[in-house]
Structure formats: C-alpha cells, structure tokens
C-alpha cells in the first residue's frame, strides 16, 4: 500500500493560521533540517501514543543560499519543526492550525478539527511544538516534559504536544486532557 505523504506543500491553503510567506519560510527551514541528516524521500513514523503510522516525507534539497540563510541551527530546527508538526497533526488527526498563539516569548499555534475561522476559538486546542536533531530518547524526553508541564496546573488549555525528531525520522505526539 502506498504510504501517505506528509502534507508539507501549500500549507497556507489549508491552515488559516499560516500566511503563505510564513508557510514557505517554515518549509524552507524543514528542508534544511531534513537535509542535514537525510536524502529525500524518507519514511517517517508518526506516533500518537501506541498508534504508529508511516508517512513519506518528500522535499526539495536546499541550495547553498537556502542553507546559508538558515545557518542558525536552532532557528532552522524550531521553524522546521513547526512545518512538520502542523503537517503531522493534519495527516494523523485532521487538525488545522487556525491561529498563532502569541506569548511573551514567541508563538506556537492553536489548532482545530475543522478549518474554522480564526475568530472563534472555543473548540481549539493549543499545539505545542518542539524539534530536535538528537536521538529518540531526546524526542521522548521532550514529549514527557511537555506533557508534565501541560498537566501541572488547571490554568492550561487542552493541548497537543508534538516533538519532531529530524535525525531519527520520528514525529511523536500526545494529547493532553484527553479531549481527542
């Protein structure tokens, strides 16, 4: 059976929380982060608890200019993880990014099951994203930390934590508050 493609292309067309420019920028970062470890295409595992799904990741290798523009490894990993995490949430769970989650310190995203307009967020959940170039243990450690952090108080929204492991070809996710 043909494996589904991780939907990294034209994300702004489906996710109202992403503008075209931002989606392209995240995709560039993902290409650089993926290319650091692999040659396309690659099979990634999307793991949601005990359920695993394989997905094919296809990307255009970045040229030197693109690599140079994303020379800051931390930025590339963070923004590349946004692209892969949002695409994985779309493919695995049918979730779409509907709004940036502005905080003091950057932005993750709010996501919803239907591609709803961004001014009604009653049914949304927070998408918490992290990326790493390290091993599977680190992917799981980050996921555990995110889950513990989200569980520790009543003051958090329901969330989906997603950690992207570029080197180990793994996207690990977990819902918090059991709302899915």
């Amino acid at each position: 059976m043909t494996k589904p493609l991780l939907p990294l292309s034209n994300m702004a067309d489906r996710h109202v929380g992403l503008t075209k420019a931002l989606a392209e920028s995240y995709l560039e970062a993902a290409r650089v982060s993926l290319d650091r470890h692999h040659k396309p295409p690659q099979e990634f595992t999307l793991r949601d608890g005990s359920i695993e799904q394989a997905a094919l990741v296809v990307w255009e290798p970045p040229d030197d200019r693109c690599r140079g523009a994303w020379a800051n490894r931390d930025d590339a990993t963070r923004d590349g993880a946004y692209a892969c995490a949002i695409a994985a949430a779309e493919l695995s769970l049918g979730l779409y990014a509907v709004k940036r989650a502005e905080t003091l310190t950057g932005a993750d995203y709010y996501a919803a099951f239907i591609n709803q307009v961004s001014h009604d967020l009653e049914d949304c959940l927070r998408l918490e994203v992290s990326g790493t170039n390290l091993n599977e243990y680190e992917v799981q450690r980050r996921l555990r930390n995110k889950v513990k952090q989200a569980q520790k108080g009543k003051s958090n929204l329901p969330a989906l934590a997603v950690v992207v492991g570029f080197r180990v070809k793994l996207v690990s996710m977990q819902t918090i508050d059991g709302i899915l």
């Binding site: 420019a21 003091l104 950057g106 967020l121 450690r141 513990k148 952090q149």
Partner: protein, 371 residues
C-alpha cells in the same frame, strides 16, 4: 476582520524579525497589536476561551513592541472582569508582571543584556509563592555561578578552578534578582550590561547573548546524551564544570522534586525541566568521564552522605560530618573540586563519592549537593 489582519501583520513581523529588520518587525507587531485589541473589544463575552486567547494575544503583541503601558491597560481591564478562563488569567498575570519589571528598569536607567532567566521550583517543601530561605539562597547562587561561567567562556577566559571571577567581571556583569510572576516558587535573574564595555574588546555581540547561551548550555546538560553540549561548549574543562553546576540545580526529590528554567523574554521559551532522573543522567555522564580518565584501581568505592563542614582546597581536603558517624571525616586529594561548585555546599547536605584505601583514608572522587 481584525483577527485576520492581526494574524497577517504578526506573521509579517516574524518574517521581518528573522531577516534582521528589527524596526520593520516592531512596526508590524504594533499594527498586529492594534488589530488584536480592536478584535478583543468586539468579541462576544460568552465566548470565554476565544476572549482569553485574544486578550493574551493582544497583551503579548503590545509587549513585543515594548508598549508596556498598553500591556498594563489590556491586562488590568480584562483581569478585572469575570469573563476570563483560568489559563488566560495566569498568562495575563505573567505578562503584566514582566511588563511592570520592564517599566521599572526603564525608569531606573539600568541596562541589561538581552533576556531574563526564570527559575521555578516545585514539590516537596516548596509551596505556592514560598520556599525555605536557605534553599532559595543556594539556588540563586548556583544560577549566578552558571552565569559567571558562561560569561567567562564567552570572553575566552581560561577555566577558573579557584576563587571568584576576576574583579572586572564581577563589577561589570552584575546579576540582578527580580520579582517573578506568581507560581509554585519562582525567581528571575538578569545580568546588567557592562557600563565599560571597552574592558572587553570584541566581546560585545557575544555578551548580548549571554542569557541565551546559558539556556542553551543548561538545556544541553539536561539531555541524556551530551553531544549537543559538546557542540556548544567545546572546551572539556568548561563542559565538565557546567555539568557539575547544572547537576546541583537538579532535585534529588527530598526538598523539592522539580526545577524549571526558561527564558522569560527570548523567542525560544520552552522550559528546561529538571527532575530527579535528570540528576541521575548527569551523574552517569560524569562517572563515565571520570572512569575514562582515571587510572584503574582496586580500591573500594563508597558514597558518603552528610554535612560538608569544612574545606581547604589549596591543601587538598574537605571535611564531612557523615549521617552515621559521630566525628567528621577528612577526604583528601580534592584536586578536581572547583570553588564555585563546592562553595554553596558548605554547611549543607552533600553526597561525596570516595575511594577507600586499606588504611581507611578517603580519597575524593566527586561531590554533589544532596538537594
């Protein structure tokens, strides 16, 4: 309509910021904040989650452009209502406290390097908003010591084994303890910008990044494998020193069972979490490093727990009052001990790894704070 415009401006601001166009980014964030504030005033109050998210978003956007009075206005206006859900109350309080700190700093004329480190501890004897003074004092010192080490590394200074940082560094890079938003127990630390940057020629860009660098180091030290730490801290002496300093931050589970450290102002704000198992991970790395460099020995290895009563590092010994003994014991060959790691441990509970000679003499291997 306002929401969509705000989204568009915020996304463009992020792109401008990434391209290094700070002025354009600030202008776009301001426009995004204005649109978000307009959207907020038009919302149906029964949509509490939407209201909460939008209020937090508006306050955050005002914060990003440094318009702290606007932050205050939005936060206070909505905190005074009964409409907000818990998550939004908590987030708005955090933004408001941080904005108040910023207002005070501006008025004081003190300049800080970029970023702020927020440390929070929880569990055990820690209660909401309060912690034992001794404990807090020690944690503050430990964070300060990591800051100094990071500054020294950025200034390419040789690794210091004895004494305090040199006078110039202490005088010019003064760490400040700030009020933190309410939490389990939290404190925040910032480093004052040197008044005489000329004392550190060529170091200006690096020094601006000291808080970010500290967070990268602590994050890498918290990971099970330390390959990332090797990239960030290529010097093995510094790397070993950072691992030891970071280990002391981690809980053993007795006084507290969780410590989080994160940037309160920088872009990458995900907290670095230390649990008791984090300490075990660092211990494992340090043990492996030690075994790789030590001569193999037939001596028995032991672990002593007790109060560190005295030390004389120039004479190569420390003295411990063990839990199960009436008299203090002296542990020799402490060549590896570093002043600013062991200093905060005096008169505190510690765990000391030793090798025991046949005549009962204890040889030093490692020391860590028990809590």
């Amino acid at each position: 309509m306002h929401h969509s415009r705000s989204e568009k401006y915020a996304s463009q601001a992020e792109a401008a910021s990434r391209n290094g166009d700070k002025d354009r980014a600030a202008e776009l964030y301001r426009l995004a904040a204005e649109e978000e504030a307009s959207a907020l005033s038009a919302l149906d109050p029964s949509k509490t989650r939407t209201l909460g998210i939008t209020a937090v978003s508006a306050a955050s956007l005002w914060f990003k452009v440094g318009m702290f009075r606007q932050v205050e206005r939005v936060a206070c206006q909505w905190l005074a209502t009964d409409y907000l859900p818990d998550f939004a109350i908590s987030q708005l309080q955090t933004i408001l406290q941080t904005a108040w700190n910023e207002i005070l700093f501006r008025e004081s004329g003190i300049e800080f390097v970029k970023g702020e480190v927020l440390v929070s501890v929880a569990g055990g004897k820690i209660v909401t908003g309060a912690a034992p003074l001794e404990f807090v004092h020690r944690k503050v010192k430990e964070v300060r010591n990591i800051f100094y080490r990071t500054i020294e590394m950025l200034l390419n200074q040789p690794f210091r084994r004895r004494g305090l940082p040199n006078a110039d560094i202490q005088e010019q890079f003064r760490p400040w303890l700030l009020q933190a938003p309410p939490g389990s127990y939290q404190f925040a630390v910032r480093v004052q910008k040197p008044a005489q940057m000329s004392l550190f020629p060529d170091a200006s860009p690096e020094i601006e990044e000291v808080t970010q660098k500290l967070l990268q180091i602590v994050d890498a030290a918290a990971q099970e494998t330390h390959e990332e730490l090797e990239n960030i801290v290529p010097d093995p002496e510094y790397r070993n020193g950072f691992l030891r300093l970071t280990r002391n931050l981690a809980p053993t589970g007795k006084t507290f069972n969780r410590l989080e450290i994160k940037s309160a102002t920088d872009l990458e704000a995900r907290p670095i979490v230390f649990l008791p198992e984090s300490r075990q991970g660092i211990n494992k790395t340090l043990r492996e490093e030690r075994k790789a460099t030590e001569e193999p020995t037939e001596l028995k290895e032991e672990q002593l727990t007790g109060i560190l009563r005295a030390l004389h590092l120039d004479k190569d010994w420390i003295e411990l009052h063990p839990d199960d003994g009436e008299q203090s014991v002296r542990i020799i060959q402490t060549g590896d001990v570093i002043d600013d790691i062991v200093g905060p441990m005096v008169n505190q509970r510690v765990i000391v790894d030793v090798a025991v000679r046949p005549d009962g003499t204890y040889l030093y291997r490692d020391i860590q704070s028990e809590e």
